[in-house]
């Protein structure tokens, strides 16, 4: 049995768990960045900029979930190739859409057809990360936008009274304080993000769901050394346990983080800590 669980195919399955963790590790900061940018835009003093920020938040959040994932990656992929095509092959005289086909010149392919396999894989992974980051960025923007407004107004006024510029007040007073207001929303978002990772499967990445389905399916002896019946239930049970453990650990870590961040803050939790210490 130990041999069965260590076939190279199973190694692919185990690596896929790494892929999921890697996706989370990259997507979380990336969407925070998108979210921060979106929130800053949304509260910008110049009206058109603030409309762009608010529009980004509203559009991404308004579109039903899976439908967005299903067509966004194709659209993104074709969009990138189209732009590169316009830049690289300006003398191309054939239409890009030939009937059903989407044809760009060979130099504009992203990645180039000749590039190594790992580049293709990384590119596919990259578009998936970008899709996740844009979608979750909109959610994060919404949370951060709310958190920035939750910072007590007198704090900013005090900062300005001390002669800080608008920018200084934002970076030195507002940003350090907003995290404690943003954390509940962001932790919720992190939980949602963990639970959205099986969607990688829809984006065409061969993730844990793909391998669980492939390996759990029944195998006949002609094509494998380890024939077995339909074991998909057990593979999916393993996935279920993985996700439950992961969300549980996240919950504990985030709770601790909340305690740490509340220290010295002008919130009920911060006040309670101060009293307990005193």
């Amino acid at each position: 049995m130990s041999c069965y669980l260590t076939t190279p195919k199973h190694m692919n399955f185990y690596t896929a768990f790494g892929t999921v963790l890697l996706l989370l590790a990259i997507t979380a900061p990336a969407s925070l960045l998108f979210g921060f940018g979106g929130a800053m835009l949304a509260r910008h003093r110049i009206a058109p900029l603030s409309w762009i920020g608010k529009g980004y938040i509203a559009i991404v959040r308004g579109v039903p979930d899976i439908a967005f994932f299903l067509f966004f990656v194709i659209a993104l992929d074709q969009g990138i190739e189209w732009v590169k095509h316009k830049v690289v092959c300006s003398d191309w005289d054939q239409p890009i859409r030939q009937g059903n086909d989407f044809v760009v010149c060979a130099q504009a392919k992203v990645p180039l057809a000749t590039s190594a396999e790992w580049i293709h894989e990384s590119y596919a992974f990259g578009t998936a990360v970008l899709t996740f980051a844009i979608v979750f960025g909109a959610f994060a923007a919404n949370v951060l936008f709310g958190a920035m407004r939750a910072v007590p107004r007198p704090q900013i006024e005090t900062a300005e009274a001390y002669g800080m510029s608008h920018r200084q007040a934002f970076w030195r007073v507002m940003v350090p304080q907003m995290w404690v207001y943003a954390l509940p929303g962001l932790s919720n978002l992190w939980m949602v993000l963990i639970k959205a990772t099986p969607l990688l499967f829809l984006l065409g990445i061969e993730d844990i769901v793909y391998w669980a389905r492939e390996m759990g399916g029944s195998k006949t002896a002609r094509f494998t050394d380890y024939p077995h019946g339909d074991w998909r239930m057990w593979y999916f049970l393993a996935l279920l346990v993985f996700y439950l453990a992961f969300t549980r650990v996240s919950e504990i870590v985030l709770d601790r983080l909340m305690v740490r961040l509340s220290r010295g803050q002008a919130t009920a939790a911060g006040e309670a800590q101060r009293r307990a210490d005193a």
């Binding site: 059903n100 057809a113 006949t220 094509f223 494998t224 380890y226």
Partner: protein, 237 residues
Amino acid sequence: MKNLVLSTAILALSAGLATAQTVRMGTEGAYPPYNFINDAGEVDGFERELGDELCKRAELDCQWVTNDWDSIIPNLVSGNYDTIIAGMSITEDRAQVIDFTQGYTQPDPSGYLVMSADADVKGGVVAAQTGTIQAAFIAESGATLVEFATPDETVSALRSGEADAVLADDAYLQPIADENDDLMMLEQQEMIGGGVGMGLRQSDDELRAKFDAAIDSMKADGSLNALIAKWEIGPGF
């Protein structure tokens, strides 16, 4: 949707061929003996051997890519890989969207896999993979169609009593019937589809000509028949 795991570049025949055109071969990897993922996690099967040989003869540098069946045509059309070599039967409907090379198998009859010989394939429930010629066939016959995303799920559905029969290519079902005592093939077969060919974008005439020529040469020297016999795909040419 770029979908790739395992792919192997074929070694170039000689130093002079190092700059050969790279062709990405899209397959499903879940339809033995045509194509499947072996224990080593690589694409294997009749089409793997065939494709490698064709690429050698056409002096192309081939990489293998796997993609889900239900989005295999859209991803070809949008350029994520250059050919479909996935046990895809040549049909009118598909030919409107993509081009096919000549068939590299004889038209393979589709067979019914059943639990008992008296299963009702005319009025009962028949399982098939979504988007296959078999699914389209059942939708038009009198039977009740139930669709699944992968061929393996159709067989599970038969076992669990969800369906009375599975309709799929004979070559796929036969090994399953041979190895399982509780499953058998019906004598009745359906002649649907016109042989299996490689799918290419309609704008890729040059590449199609290369593969057609390579298939011709394999037909001529009998190596195609040898492969068909080895993987028990059906009658040879």
